[in-house]
Amino acid sequence: MGSLATYIARRLLLIIPTLLGVSILIFAISMVFTPEQRAALYVTSPKAASKIYQIIKKYGLDRPAHEQYFTWLSNVLRGNLGYSKSMNIPVIRAFTDLWPTSVEIAIYAAPFIVLVGVKLGKISAIYRDKLPDHIARVLAIVGWSLPTFWSAIILLAIFYGWLGWFPPGRLGPEAQAIVRSSEWVTYTGLYTIDALLNGNLFVFIDAVRHLFLPVLNLVIVGNAGIMRVMRSSMLEELNKEYVLAARSKGVAERDIINKHVTRNALIPVVTMAGVLVAGLMTGLVITETVFELKGLGYWAAHAAEQLDIPSVLAFALFTGVVFVIANLIVDVLYAYIDPRVRLQ
């Protein structure tokens, strides 16, 4: 395992140039805009808008690109991301207000999507061309082809409109009152976790009830990709000679599948899961809109509509960072599963 530790250390160091690259790329995109448009990045109140030319001078927005890049980067690092005109608050505040909504959905949806996808893919491969395989594949195809908004609306119609079990939004009115009261301590902004830390079971259950439908919807729509990769990867591995070798040793069929084949089959799934989770963190526009959740996706979509450049750039930066981190996690998991990766 010593080589695994050095691998992780090496991989962590690699993150620095990658992040710099991301920032340069985003800055390069922002250079498409005029100095006036870019000055909006530094306007932090409606009043300051009248002093736009002073801002251009002050931040050197008419200076050469590399100088501008360093001023921009040092501002970003200090959390100064400009003013969001679509939200009427500074970008950094909009961001801190909104990220818990998206991240909460993502961290609950991701494990379920991956688990369901892997399990279905496994069943499908083991019972290839038999009934369980057909059922799993039909489920996956249905999920794959459903438009997210459509299945979300159907789920809402059944479980909220008809049964009244799982309402949209993040919290019910009573729970919201508790969360806004002075006794409530906000630790993370994620209601489920904060509720447990505050020892308030009522808010916790309420938060879970509100999370249930968006998470379920994402699992239905999202697991198909994982399932299909897992299935084909399992089928490929099942044909390998080490399976015969294990069988000739007297290993039980169940152990061959769970111990020998699954671990090898997971290697391509990990890549896919990394991209999927990163996408969940940043790309939930439709889910957030249908379920009346104000998260990052909703904000980014509105900001783009209203040409709110500072918000869009901040969102792009966030997306970049999330993908870099997701890739890091994927690479570490890779090395954990497959010892061959740990060499150089």
């Binding site: 070798a245 000739s248 007297g250 090898n264």
Partner: protein
């Protein structure tokens, strides 16, 4: 071929194996009869696709899908007991695989799971077939250890030995961390056993090699690991499926030497599959020649090399490159086994082919004691033997 029953470790009777592929049904093994005598080295030769490997997979009743045994009997004998592999339930056959009958593969790199340590892969077989033995040894070792954990381990392992399905032990085995109480001492014993075994295979520094992954080892070392796995539970019958085909010549010589040596040490029966006549001459006591899913000739190694009867065997021997002799190959190619030739499957390539060969399939008959051949050219000779 029924008189020698007592001496037979393995009998294959009238074996048919079919592969159900999209292109059609591949008649891979078509009525094979074969005896393996206890203690011998039987070489099976034939071109690629002649059904050598499939026949031996059938001997473990593990023909890989889409293949299936469609007819025939495979009987394994040990201590006067008969195990009919073609009729036993899978769970019972599994107890024989790896312990009584084990297998070495052609490509060691492919036969090893890339994501597990090689030592653990050898230990796996030991932990399946010699679990109780390892438990006993673990108890022995734990006796001399003091402390809470060793004594806890001891009582758990003791319980599991006394009553196999002990509910407490079964529960414990499911709980992470706690299950280490049970497994750790057992695995420690298995590791000792594996390290010993790796040493026996001529692997230098076996304790370090135990923790290596397959990709970190050379082909020769990988094959030694595969052989160690196959020998880990003292098999009676070892099936070696072209174990040296993918190795360098010098490494091949080492592995052949090792196998001969180990055969003596472990006192097992060896079934050696190859297409290399040189290796056959080097390794085997008796030889079975296969062509297109049939056995065409069986005999002891000297007879086969000095007095081959079947035209195919003759062709194989003439195809061995030798200085001062022009290389002669067998005309034509191995037939497509979805639509095999009628009658004798060799007749399209045979220079002695008669009309009868196209219509009828020759039976494998004994032309002289211990020398069997499936060819109409020699059926008269066989009749004489029977009369005389």
């Amino acid at each position: 071929m029924t008189e020698r029953n007592e001496g037979n470790i393995m009998e294959v009777r009238d074996l048919y194996v079919r592969f159900y592929t999209y292109e059609g049904v591949v008649k891979a093994v078509d009525g094979v009869d074969l005896d393996v005598l206890r203690g011998e080295t039987l070489g099976i030769v034939g071109e690629t696709g002649s059904g050598k490997s499939v026949t031996t997979y059938a001997m473990m009743n593990m023909v890989p899908p889409p293949g299936r045994i469609t007819r025939g009997r495979v009987v394994y004998r040990r201590d006067g007991k008969e195990f009919v592999l073609t009729e036993m339930p899978e769970s019972e056959i599994r107890k024989l695989r790896g312990s009584d009958i084990s297998r070495i593969f052609q490509e060691p790199k492919a036969a090893l799971n890339p994501v597990y340590k090689v030592g653990d892969q050898v230990a796996e077989a030991i932990l399946i077939h010699r679990l109780d033995e390892m438990k006993e040894r673990a108890l022995e070792t734990l006796k001399s250890e003091r402390g809470v954990f060793p004594s806890l381990s001891r009582s758990v392992i003791d319980r599991s030995l006394k009553f196999e399905g002990d509910p407490l032990v079964r529960l414990l085995k499911r709980i992470p961390l706690l299950r280490r109480l049970y497994w750790k001492p057992i695995k420690r014993e298995a590791r000792k056993e594996v390290v010993k075994l790796l040493g026996l295979m001529g692997i230098p520094d076996p304790d370090r090699v135990y923790d290596m992954y397959p990709h970190e080892l050379s082909g020769g070392m990988q094959q030694r690991i595969v052989i160690a796995t196959a020998l880990s539970c003292n098999p009676q019958l070892l099936i070696a499926d072209e174990p040296t085909t993918n190795l360098d010549v010098t490494v091949e010589a080492q592995i052949l030497e090792l196998m001969k040596d180990l055969k003596k040490k472990f006192g097992m029966t060896l079934l050696y599959i190859t297409h290399d006549m040189g290796v056959i001459a080097e390794m085997s006591d008796r030889v079975a020649v296969m062509y297109a899913g049939n056995i065409v000739e069986v005999g002891d190694v000297i007879t086969i090399f000095k007095k081959p009867l079947h035209p195919y065997t003759k062709g194989l021997l003439e195809a061995i490159p030798m200085p001062g002799r022009p290389l002669k190959d067998i005309p034509g190619t191995v037939p497509n086994l979805i639509n095999p030739p009628s009658g004798c499957r060799f007749h399209p390539r045979c220079e002695y082919a008669m009309d009868r060969c196209k219509r009828e399939k020759p039976k494998l008959v004994e032309v002289e004691p211990g020398h069997w051949v499936a060819c109409f050219l020699h059926h008269d000779q066989a009749a004489e033997v029977e009369e005389g």
